[in-house]
Every structure is written in C-alpha cells, then in structure tokens.
C-alpha cells in the first residue's frame, strides 16, 4: 500500500497537468493540412493534451475510415472514443467542451460575426486560392479578380481590429490562419503576388497572428512545404 502511495505522489508531482486529465483526445490529421492545424491551435489554446496521428492520405488507416465514413477525410478529433469531423465543427466542439480561453465570445452578435467570416473563408477564399494555384491564362485572371474582390471584404473587416476576434484570437482567426503561412509558400512556388500592399491590414494580421504564442512554431517545416507545393504546382503547370 505504501509503495502505491509513493507512486501516486510521484506521478502527481512529475506529470504534466493538462486541462483534460482522465480524458482521451486524439487528432487524426496530416503533417501539412491547414485544416488539422486549426484544431491543433484550438487544443493548444485550451491546454488540452492530445495524441496526434498523422495519416498518409494515399493509404488511409482503417481507423480514419471508421471514424469519418461520410467524408473519409482529416482532421478527425476523437474524444473519449467519440469522433467529430469537419474542422469548423471540431473547433466549435472544442469550445463547447473546454471553457477556458474561449474561441467564441458570449455575445451572440460577435459569435455570428466570427461564424460569418469563418464561412466566408471556406466558401470564397479557399476555392479562389485553389483556382489561382491551379489555373492559367484567362481562368487565372478570373480567379485573381474574384480573389481581389474577396480580399477587399476581409481588409474592411479588419479595420480597427488587431485580430478578427478583436483583442484576442477568435474562431475567424483560426480559420483564416492558413493565410499567414500558405500565401508565402504559394507566392514562392508560383512567382505570383497574391496578397500585396493593397491589403496592409491583412498583411499586418498575418504577421501578428504568426507571432501569437499558440501559433508560433506550429507551422509545418518550410522546406518540406515548398517541395510539396512546388510538385503540386508543376502538376498543374507542366510547361513551367
């Protein structure tokens, strides 16, 4: 009995105390997915201990297919054996489950605003950036024109704000976060200027966001990303 007491005392004093003792949290993602990274940020923000499982999407694990039968995609969060899929659904789940360092404010108007911009990113920015990355000629021109229109709204939204969430990071910051890393990578790989000096607030946000303690040092290895996206770019632009 005394040995057990000493063991428990040792464990208590020496193990990292996360905010989710006794709860099992697993995150299925890939090393590069920005959607998985959003979830990493949310978990870090809340001090949640989790196990990270990096999938190879060309050879998906049985567990992933079991946890996300509808889409068969990452990220999937598994909390005490319960799977949650779709990154924005996961972010709201994390906020609903662990109350410290909220991602969404209590104010319904502000919550609606954050959700609106998160949706804007998913429905407008992401398809447009994909079109910019994968097309040429007239299609590229059209994609760029749409991108410019979209960015105007984003720039406007940042007026008078440090972050999309105001003074603190919010849902929209997490969802827009990919910009702070991938724009630079896409520009390097494509030679295109995608976010230029017409968007000073957005450029500042990208820098401020990257420097936040939760975000800093979470980006995937730069060289590895360049290699990956260069190969992808060349696939869509074979002549170059």
């Amino acid at each position: 009995m005394k040995q057990m007491e000493y063991l428990f005392l040792f464990l208590e004093q020496n193990c990292v105390i996360a905010n989710n003792m006794g709860e099992e949290v697993k995150l299925y993602k890939t090393w590069s997915t920005p959607f998985g990274l959003r979830v990493v940020w949310a978990l870090k923000l809340k001090g949640i201990d989790y196990e990270s499982i990096d999938e190879d999407l060309s050879n998906k694990s049985d567990l992933l297919l079991h946890y996300n039968p509808v889409y068969k995609k990452v990220p999937v969060l598994v909390h005490n054996g319960n799977p949650i899929s779709e990154s924005t659904v996961i972010l709201e789940y994390i906020d609903d489950t662990w109350k410290q360092n909220p991602i969404l404010s209590q104010d319904p108007v502000e919550r609606a605003r954050q959700r609106f911009w998160a949706k804007f990113n998913e429905e407008k920015l992401l398809p447009t950036i994909w079109a910019i990355f994968t097309t040429e000629g007239k299609d590229l021109e059209e994609a760029m024109a749409a991108w410019v229109e979209n960015l105007k709204f984003v720039e406007e939204e940042l007026k008078g704000k440090k972050l999309f969430g105001g003074e603190k990071m919010g849902l929209a910051d997490l969802v827009f976060g990919w910009l702070a890393n991938l724009i630079g990578i896409f520009e390097e790989v494509s030679g295109l200027k995608i976010v230029d000096e017409r968007y000073p607030l957005l450029l500042t946000w990208m820098q401020v966001f990257s420097e936040l303690p939760v975000i800093k040092e979470t980006w995937p290895p730069h060289d590895k990303m360049i290699t990956k996206y260069r190969a992808l770019y060349e696939k869509y632009h074979p002549a170059k």
Binding site: H79, Y93, P108, R111, A112, R115
Partner: protein
Amino acid sequence: MASSDGEVKVLGTWSSPFVMRARIALNLKSVNHEFLQERLWEGKSQLLLQSNPVHKKVPVLIHGHHTISESLIIVQYIDEVWSSAPSILPSQPLERATARFWAAYLDEKWFPSMRGIGMAEGEDARRAAVGQVEEGLVLLEEAFGECSKGRPFFGGDRIGYLDIAFGCFLGWLRVTEKMSGIRLLNETKTPQLLKWAHGFCSDDAVKDVMPETEKLAEFAKMIMSRVKGAATGTGKS
C-alpha cells in the same frame, strides 16, 4: 451583449428554404417579426444590398441595428439571443457537433445533389443524380435514428437545429419527387424520415411558412424556363 429587444425583420423570399430556416426558428421562439419579401426578379432591394453587402443574398435577419446573414448562423443567433424559450441547438457538446455536422452535410452535399436532379440532362445523368440523393437520404435516415433515439424529431421531442436545417428542403424535395416521378422518401428505405417529414410539416412553427408543393412546382417551372431562355439567348451552354 445583444438583448432580445429591438425590432425583428426577416428579409427573404417565400420560396427559399434558407429563408424558411430563419422564420421557423423565430416561430419556435414565439418572436414577433416582420417578413419583408424581396422580389429578386426585379433586382435586389437597397435594404438587401446594404444589410448583406458581402453576399447580397437572402435570408438576412435584421434585429434592431444588427444584421445577421447566412441561414444557419441566423438560426444559432436566434437560439442564443432568445435563450429562455425552448432550445434549438442541443445542450450536449457531442450532440451539438452531430447536429452541426449533418447540417453542413445537407448544405454542402445533399441539397446540391438534389438540385442536380433537376439540372441533369439525359437519363443516365438523371439516374446518377437520383442515386446520389438516395444515398444521402440513407445516411440521414441512420442519423435520424441516432439523434432522435425513438422520439419524433432529430431534436428529440421538439423541433431542433437539424430538423430546421433539413426540414426546410422538404418543399423542394416534394417538387423534385413530383417532377421526376420518383419517391425519394419512401417506406422501404427511409421509413423514419417519411414519418418525420409529416410531423415536421405539420408543426405549428412550420406549417404557415412551408410553401405548398403546387405553388413551388409552378415557380420551379418558371425559373427553369428563364434559365434555359437566358442560356440560349446568350449562346452559353
């Protein structure tokens, strides 16, 4: 902090399932509101362009001096502002996530696939489109079993978030069934959803805002002929 004070208006059209979501949510909470009908074929109103400058789309909820866009965001806003009335979203995080997951699925996959039936050209394309919709309905039938746990709605004993997200499409689903001659909801593959649909449409919060199938079918024919007319007129395919 937003209070429930302030005039409430919904900017929308009678035929839009997305607009219906906002109206059902307000009805569930017994919130008095004005329904401002847009006549989109005459061009978008100044009010719409001002209150939703980013998307210029309906529905828009106008609450005092706040404007909220995007139907599911509006429903959550309504639930959060009028928090003392019956809850629309479940209270448990996992159930909330499940409801949100399926609502997103409906908007991103299922409803576009249903619209695909009307737009399909040729028998093969139509059959493929119908197959997709039916596959989706089988998933939703299973989801219903898990969410409802033997009770009449996805939300349990009362209409909830996922009921609203899905139920708003029933008018257009019936029009599609009528025009294609295929019973998408049926006793064989989707017996629970068939029963649920009837219960949803009869609910007090829904019955006055769900358009009649005949009226919607006429409207659909009119839109399709306009779309086809515009396509041939400009020479676009």
